[in-house]
Symmetry: C2
Subunit: 126 residues, 2 copies
DNA sequence: ATACATGATGGAGTTAACTCCAAGTCAACA
DNA sequence: TGTTGACTTGGAGTTAACTCCATCATGTAT
């Protein structure tokens, strides 16, 4: 698959795809005789995976290291697992924080509803 | 309360506090005769609130608007409530996405555990 | 009276993560 | 055979969100 199609499929600009490859956020993509990228199934899986992880806020640094480790073969299996465990934990903490903030917003909204209904009652008093 | 203390209390640099005030992310802080900021209780609540909301990823733009609305008095109560409802929903969606990603990491970690225990079994075979 | 800490301001600098651009290659089509 | 369109590269530009800096003012300790 070519850039244009990959770009459309994952809603990542072609520049971003090249950028990700350049900094090692996705493994190198093979080129045809004319130097043009041909994304393999494996490349596509990587692009999707990285997009997903980035959207969840995993740091680029950690993801680059993960990609590097996978390029080094089976000897890094354990390190990779540890890396994922660490990132999963960071993610969990962020989620906990965000849930707390959501609850705080909920009660703030609740307060506004109360204020507003009081205003209304005051207005309709004789 | 002065800058230094506020900065320490909320772990925000003094530059960041000034920056937030300058762009309207927190309401103006009163100054004493020498032009020095004296944070009131209300100011402190704002700093804390904004720090919390920013940590959860609420966009600066929306928060600036929220601050502006509160400065305009009671007539904006309903608009403020709507703004919070909208931001709460955006936050909820981000949380959902992140939880899905966390689950994905879980199963990836699970896979690594499997691979690793298989490797171990292979190594210990006679 | 002087030095120092703490603050003020305006504006420049930094970092991450893209995003854009100029100049060039190549294949396919009129 | 020339033009178009999809790519390539290296490098410059952009945006958000700070962060740093130079210079100045003032209250307090020595």
């Amino acid at each position: 698959m070519r850039m244009a199609e990959v770009s459309a499929k994952f809603e990542l600009s072609q520049d971003t795809l090249r950028y990700y490859e350049r900094i090692g956020l996705i493994p190198p993509v093979n080129r045809n005789n004319n130097g043009i990228r041909e994304y393999s199934e494996d490349n596509l899986r990587w692009v999707e995976f990285i997009k997903c992880m980035r959207s969840a806020g995993l740091p680029i640094e950690a993801l680059i290291e993960y990609v590097n480790l996978t390029q080094q073969g089976e000897s890094t299996l354990n390190t990779r697992k540890e890396l994922l465990i660490e990132q999963r934990e960071q993610l969990r903490l962020r989620i906990v924080e965000m849930v707390e903030t959501m609850e705080r917003l909920d009660s703030k909204i609740e307060n506004y509803e109360q204020s507003l209904s009081e205003t209304e009652r005051a207005l309709s008093r004789p």
